[in-house]
């Protein structure tokens, strides 16, 4: 018995030793900065480097300043439109190819995943070239089809639409990949039964693919929401938040305040807000997984 207890203690100590590097680095470079940011959000650095306690003033600034309100609303708008589009398109694309020829499936998968691989910086760069109002391809199409304006990034509505389209194209690949992996695993008897009953592809979607893909849908929803919440690169390279703050986001304002305007207090408060939104997502994730385990 004593021997057994001793063995358990050594096992625990060994386990902590195995975990030590991860925990130490995680605390240094993740937990500590997050805590520090929370504290910083109640302070403000005045000119000359004097740090003053300002209470909730930084948060008040965010919720009263028109630019920050725009940033929050835009971020939410991008999430509300882009994420459902990614999910619906991913579901439709995966569902219409998963039972087709193997080479066709893997080709589609590769082609759709390429934008994710080559980095947001490269993709945003190319889109910026193509959208250039004087010489880009879009200007050419505008000329052919006699659109009113060739400069799509100069009007606030079309700039928003462009950002959403780029977000969808860049994030679609992973979503399709997850859905295909999940759909290939579906019991084939179910699909055969649907076929025997004379169902067409829409019936296949309605009665089998959509209901059975629910866990993947939840996962895709959560990961993509977190990706769109922190959108920054596309904004910086395509629109710089313009025109007139029409496409600015929380992350873009955070970067501007932190590293361009050196307003540490407001930037920290924005960081805390983003963290709070992420916490909502995290609890949603735990809620769904525990619900599934109970079933």
């Amino acid at each position: 018995m004593n021997n057994h207890k001793k063995r358990r203690i050594t096992e625990s100590l060994q386990a902590y030793a195995f975990l030590a590097p991860f925990i130490i680095l995680g605390c240094m470079f993740m937990v500590y900065p997050i805590g520090k940011q929370f504290i910083q959000s109640f302070y403000n650095t005045k000119w000359g480097g004097k740090v003053v306690f300002v209470g909730l003033a930084n948060y008040a600034e965010i919720f009263t300043n028109e630019i920050y309100i725009k940033a929050i609303l835009n971020t939410l708008l991008f999430v509300i439109i882009a994420v459902p589009c990614i999910i619906i398109l991913g579901l439709l694309i995966a569902g219409s190819i998963f039972d087709k020829n193997k080479h066709y499936v893997s080709t589609v998968r590769i082609l759709l995943y390429i934008p994710t691989i080559v980095s947001m910086v490269v993709m945003s760069t190319i889109w910026r070239f193509m959208l250039n109002s004087q010489s880009g391809l879009v200007a050419y199409f505008a000329q052919i089809f006699h659109w009113k304006s060739a400069d799509l990034l100069s009007s606030s509505t079309s700039a928003k639409i462009i950002i959403i389209i780029v977000l969808i194209i860049v994030n679609l690949g992973q979503c399709v990949l997850l859905y295909i992996a999940q759909m290939i695993g579906i019991d084939h008897n179910l699909i055969d039964a649907c076929e025997v009953d004379g169902g067409n592809r829409w019936d296949l979607f309605r009665y089998i693919l959509i209901p059975l893909s629910k866990p993947t849908t939840i996962l895709v929803f959560i990961t993509n929401t977190s990706l769109v919440l922190k959108v920054y690169i596309v904004i910086q390279l395509l629109t710089s938040g313009g025109p007139n703050y029409a496409t600015t986001t929380m992350m873009y304002q955070l970067y501007q305040d932190a590293f361009v305007n050196f307003d540490t207090g407001v930037a920290s408060a924005m960081g805390v807000l983003l963290f709070a939104m992420t916490l909502v997502l995290i609890s949603a994730r735990f809620l769904f997984t525990s619900k599934e385990e109970r079933q």
Binding site: P21, F22, I34, I110, H188, E195, R201, L274, T278, I282
Partner: protein
Amino acid sequence: MKHNKAGKRIFKGKFDLFLNICVIIFCILSVFPLYWLFTGAFKFSSDITKLPPDWWPTRFTLTNFQKIFSTYPVWNWLLNSFIITTITVALIVVISSMSAYALSKMRFPGRKGLLNIIIACLLIPIEIYILPLYNYVFKMGLQGSYWGYILPCIAMPFGVYLLKNFYDEIPNEIMEAANIDGCGRVRFFILHGLPLSKPGIGALAILSYVQIWNNYLWQLLMATSDTKSYTVIVGLARVINSTGTGTADQALFDFGLRYATATFTAIPMLVIFLVFQKYFTEGISAGAVKG
């Protein structure tokens, strides 16, 4: 992959045809920009901006590439990206597999709590706490050094989570047999644990390689004013945003130069992806399905 009876296609019809046409349109939408970029890199600047556009480089040229090699230290950028990413990924793999092994195969107080914290941290991106992290790393004097790029990215919750799923698949009986043989846990981990989780390690290595290579915001903050300290994607962003000052003078309105830099940046990851394509698919599915 299972096929339907003797390859007979089912669920064909107008709706199916329509959907597959849409699929092909999306494939074109996602790859056409890259086609346009790669062909543009071999055109003269005046041809790139020509309307109607040249769909194929009619006057083929390599001047754009010669120009970027002589104007910017692109090879330094590539080397920086390569060194930083490789060291980071190596450390991620070592640290994650140790932690994942402990979480999956060892019993200790606080195991469940720690696991839940790691799962929660999966969704917290570096961007959210980037300002305090930057101040912290800056105070440590690491800005511009490789360690500044590397250290904050090593503790990756996703890595621990992915590998834990792989270790969970290894039956505990193997562990017990090893204990009877008098094989210590550390030795068992090195001799059997690591080899058994090879597919998981491969998936993690490839996925984190892309993620670290493309970690633009952090690399941007770690770069100093010395252009040689840039990584490729920071370098690209600088070339793209350069206005007519200093050495960037030539880049002003020089579309060829910009297309060539973007091409140069895109190619390494594209090659890695096409070579290891299978592992990406497996890794992403393995890391996610158990959500």
